[in-house]
């Protein structure tokens, strides 16, 4: 990992939230730092008693005539001091138990982790109250309170840090440093700590909020440090001075408000730090309007009698400061019952194209021009990009289904696969009874060679090959006319891959749907596809039958792709079509 990369991720991006957060923090810190220099003596007693806000005392006075503004300034300082002190102590403790333990591994990790978890489930404040109760008031100084709060407040962030360190520890660059024989402390400080900085910062901020809140609670109960005045102490005196009953809002509202605003400021800053840690949380642009509004082209005529899907001049742009044209003016025709191969390296736009055909692309991706037309069996032409929300929903899966890359994540991990198949039928075929739906699910399972007993299984109970078969079974449920397969077999081993490919060919022959087969593996396409389109940088550079491409590739890039892959069997063309015996021997 380069240091430049690390630095870039440590600084949060500027956002209004961050601005407001920093502003709130700055104001409160200023009150705490500078305030005490400007105001008078907070404990000076005047004989005016409880007075409301006025020109002399902006926030009025307490029942003994003490100026609330002066008290507030000193109390803010006190609360900030204890908050930062506890924040530092708790973060150091959590770093020791979270980072060092998980890095050391083995028994140390087990012990540290058990200790953190036990500390986590033992409720903190009752423990603090009990400890404070045993220490006589005269001996309860700021440090005592700070240490007690730190001891009871570090466990949650130790757990978070441990999880992150464990994942960092197994990354390649850390493993490399360890193998190279770097000293442990060096690996931790140079390789691991910089990557944990955002998380440490967020945990520190969190610890400060927690400390200020806990200290305020403790002081409010009269159990705080005897030698300090904090916002909690102010509220304690307000409560005991019957501020509430005497409706002296100027006495009890401001201290809590300062805590709330400061905590809110810290949380807002934490949002920005969270967005560094988890990029998914970054603000997304507002939802785009209907695709039809941005697309001018009209649906294509049914050019050839047997076409089932026509893509005409489709362009997809990733919007942003520097818009990226991911798919450039692509035109394709898919004929009924054929397998159209879409080949290209990763990042060439083939997946973007496939998603855009079914309008599954997400912001910031946007279709800027072109048309996608589906030519239904019954003769109707459907302008896919112009469909309304509900029409599009009904179109998906019943006319055009998809098999995604990496079936591990395409199935929800916490639901039995039967329910995920059943969902499709419940939504698209509401007239089917429960028994009919179950029957249909069994049928498609048998079709793809998975034991229907497996319907009750959860995805993690199935092997990778079986999961992909389940995905194919799901795609077959509604008898679609087009199936888009995005690298359906890439993650599988060769034997399983072959079994699945054979079955796809078989279904195509038996059920007569057309397939758009996306892969980076051009030699594979030569064996199974009828026609092939080669994509590069969002453009289709060459289109033709598999034979044409094989024997006479025109574009230099096609030749390059052809040469870059060894065939799976070393014998091009003999892989799938040449071994009919494997039809029965497909892997289960």
């Amino acid at each position: 990992m380069s240091t430049v990369d690390t630095k870039r991720r440590v600084l949060p991006r500027w956002s209004p939230k961050l601005g407001v957060g920093l502003g709130l923090i700055a104001v409160v810190v200023l009150v705490g730092l500078v305030g005490p220099l400007l105001v008078g003596d907070p404990s000076a007693v005047r004989d005016i008693g409880l007075t409301g806000p006025g020109a002399e005392h902006w926030l009025g006075t307490t029942q003994t005539g003490q100026d609330v503004v002066a008290q507030l300034a000193y109390a803010t300082r006190g609360s900030l001091q204890i908050g930062v002190l506890v924040g530092v102590l708790a973060t150091v403790l959590s770093a020791i138990f979270g980072i060092v333990g998980s890095y050391a591994g083995g028994l140390v990790d087990e012990a540290f982790s058990l200790f953190s978890n036990v500390m986590l489930v033992i409720p903190g404040l009752p423990l603090v109250i009990v400890i404070a109760g045993f220490v006589p008031a005269a001996q309860r100084g700021s440090w005592t309170i700070a240490i007690v709060l730190a001891i009871t407040g570090w466990a949650a962030s130790a757990r978070v840090l441990r999880a992150q360190t464990l994942s960092l520890r197994n990354r390649d660059y850390v493993a490399a440093a360890r193998v190279a024989g770097e000293k442990t402390w060096r690996v931790i400080t140079v390789e691991i700590l910089p990557n944990l900085l955002p998380l440490l910062a967020s945990q520190f901020v969190f610890a400060v909020i927690l400390a200020i809140l806990s200290e305020a609670g403790l002081s409010f109960l009269g159990l705080g440090a005897s030698n300090s005045s904090t916002l909690g102490t102010m509220l304690y005196y307000a409560q005991n001075g019957f501020a509430l009953q005497r409706e002296a809002w100027w006495w009890f509202v401001p201290p809590g408000l300062v805590i709330a605003l400061f905590g809110c400021g810290l949380s807002l800053v934490n949002f920005s730090i969270d967005e560094i840690i988890n990029p998914k949380l970054r603000d997304v642009p507002r939802r785009p309007g209907k695709v039809a509004e941005t697309v001018a082209a009209t649906p294509a005529e049914r050019g050839e009698d047997d076409a089932v899907l026509t893509v005409d001049g489709l362009s997809v742009v990733y919007q942003g400061k520097n818009p990226v044209l991911a798919v450039k003016n692509v035109s394709l025709t898919l004929r009924r019952g054929e397998i159209l191969g879409l080949a290209g390296e990763s990042g060439c736009g083939k997946t973007t194209l496939a998603y855009a055909v079914n309008r599954l692309h997400r912001p910031p991706a946007e279709v800027t021009s072109g048309a996608v037309t589906f030519h239904d069996r019954d003769g109707a032409d459907v302008d896919v990009l112009g469909l309304g929300v509900e029409e599009l929903r009904a179109f998906r899966w019943s006319k055009l289904s998809m098999v995604f890359q990496g079936a591990m994540n395409a199935l929800s991990p916490v639901t039995p696969v039967a329910a995920q198949l059943d969902d499709v039928l419940v939504t698209h075929r509401p007239e089917m009874t429960r028994d009919q739906r179950r029957q249909r699910c069994r049928e498609v399972f048998e079709l793809v060679g998975v034991d229907p007993q497996r319907l009750g299984s959860y995805p993690h109970e199935l092997s990778g090959g079986m999961r992909q078969r389940v995905m194919i079974a799901m795609a077959l449920l509604l008898d679609p006319q087009v199936m888009i397969m995005d690298e359906p077999t890439t993650a599988l081993d060769v034997v399983v891959q072959r079994g699945i490919l054979l079955e796809i060919l078989k279904f195509r022959d038996e059920l007569g749907f057309a397939v758009i087969f996306i892969t980076h593996d051009l030699p594979l396409l030569l064996e199974i596809a009828d026609r092939i389109a080669v994509m590069r940088d969002g453009e289709v550079v060459e289109q033709g039958t598999a034979e044409e491409l094989h024997l006479n590739p025109r574009h230099p890039y096609t030749r390059e792709l052809l040469d870059s892959f060894p065939s799976l069997t070393g014998d091009r063309g003999g892989f799938v079509r040449g071994t009919p015996a494997l039809h029965d021997g497909g892997v289960r």
């Binding site: 033992i122 404040l125 009990v130 045993f134 609670g217 409706e247 949380s267 991990p413 916490v414």
Partner: protein, 329 residues
């Protein structure tokens, strides 16, 4: 099965740690709590029978020569028998009786409030995450403010507005003092009436945490492949939101329940104090103010056991909603 055994073992260790902590704290602290207690008892005219003295000594540390190990085991024996000593502030009632009378109030109040805020926070968080990019996003900073508000201060404000100024709710207490506690409609409705503001305090202060956590997980879940697949399947949005995104996003919230429960319990203790609610939190503070160490210790133990129990139940529920825990352990 392995998952359950591990969880059970963990909570036993935690329970043991809490008992040991409870044993160690008074012995590590300055001063001699037993003498203070006995002096207090005498002031109140209580007679010190040897059994009571012994039970105090085991709880708080004896001045004698008894080895610490044998003290420890005798202490554990006393706890197992439910002997937590005699309360000084409520003399001659045993600590266990004082706790038993206060515990139901807190369990019901905190239990219902926590459940409400959990359900509310999860539902709102799921919705805000799902509708990301709409006006609902503005709920996020709003809940941040709520989450940063100290429980007891919110309680003060609620009392000032709804009890003091508007007079809609009673200022303090758990029920109308002219009534005697009983399972009749009059008493129950009075208890509910008195419990509304404290419960509202807990719900309002804690709902933001659930909401934020759930919203963030929802945003992460929405970019998962299974949500994309569900969209490709042509399912209705409501079904995708509930059965795919929320179903998966809720798991970390449930797994992180232990952390949040600690906050809620801590907040509730102070909230009870503001409302003079007859629960365990007020009793704990009374005990601290009166140097009633035995009661203090007993309440700490009971709160800890209750929190451990609640966490154990949630962990067992987690196994039900995440099938993966059942195999991998």
């Amino acid at each position: 099965m392995r998952y359950y055994v591990r969880k059970l073992a963990f909570y036993l260790v935690a329970l043991w740690a809490a008992l040991t902590l409870n044993f160690a704290i008074p012995r590590l602290m300055p001063g001699n709590p037993v003498d203070i207690l006995l002096a207090k008892l005498q002031q109140r005219g209580g007679s010190i029978d040897p059994a009571a003295r012994r039970s105090f000594e085991l709880l708080l540390g004896a001045g004698g020569d008894e080895p610490i190990v044998s003290q420890y085991f005798a202490y554990l024996g006393n706890i197992v028998r439910g002997d937590l000593g005699v309360s000084v502030s409520a003399f001659p009632a045993p600590v266990s009786e004082v706790i038993a009378s206060a515990l139901p109030w807190t369990v019901v109040l905190v239990g219902i409030a926590t459940l409400l805020s959990f359900v509310l926070g999860i539902a709102l968080g799921a919705l805000v995450g799902w509708k990301r990019g709409t006006w609902l996003d503005s709920l996020v900073p709003a809940t941040t403010v709520l989450a940063a508000v100290p429980y007891f201060w919110l309680a003060l404000i609620l009392v000032a507005v709804f009890a003091s100024a508007l007079g809609w709710f009673p200022l303090t207490g758990g029920y109308d003092v002219v009534l005697t506690p009983a399972w009749d409609a009059e008493f129950l409705s009075s208890a509910i009436y008195h419990g509304t503001l404290p419960a509202l305090t807990i719900v309002v202060s804690s709902v933001g945490g659930w909401l934020l956590g759930m919203r963030n997980m929802m945003v992460s879940a929405m970019s998962e492949d299974y949500v994309l697949t569900a969209q490709a399947k042509g399912l209705r949005d409501s079904r995708i939101m509930v059965r795919y995104a929320t179903r998966n996003a809720v798991l970390p919230s449930v797994a992180g329940f232990a952390i949040s429960l600690g906050f809620v319990v801590s907040g509730s203790i102070i909230t009870e104090q503001v409302f003079s609610y007859p629960g365990i939190g007020s009793k704990l503070l009374q005990a601290v103010q009166n140097n009633d160490y035995a009661l203090m210790q007993g309440i700490f133990l009971v709160i800890t056991v209750a929190v451990l129990g609640a966490n154990l139940v949630v962990d067992l529920l987690y196994a039900l909603i995440d099938p993966r825990t059942r195999v991998s352990g």
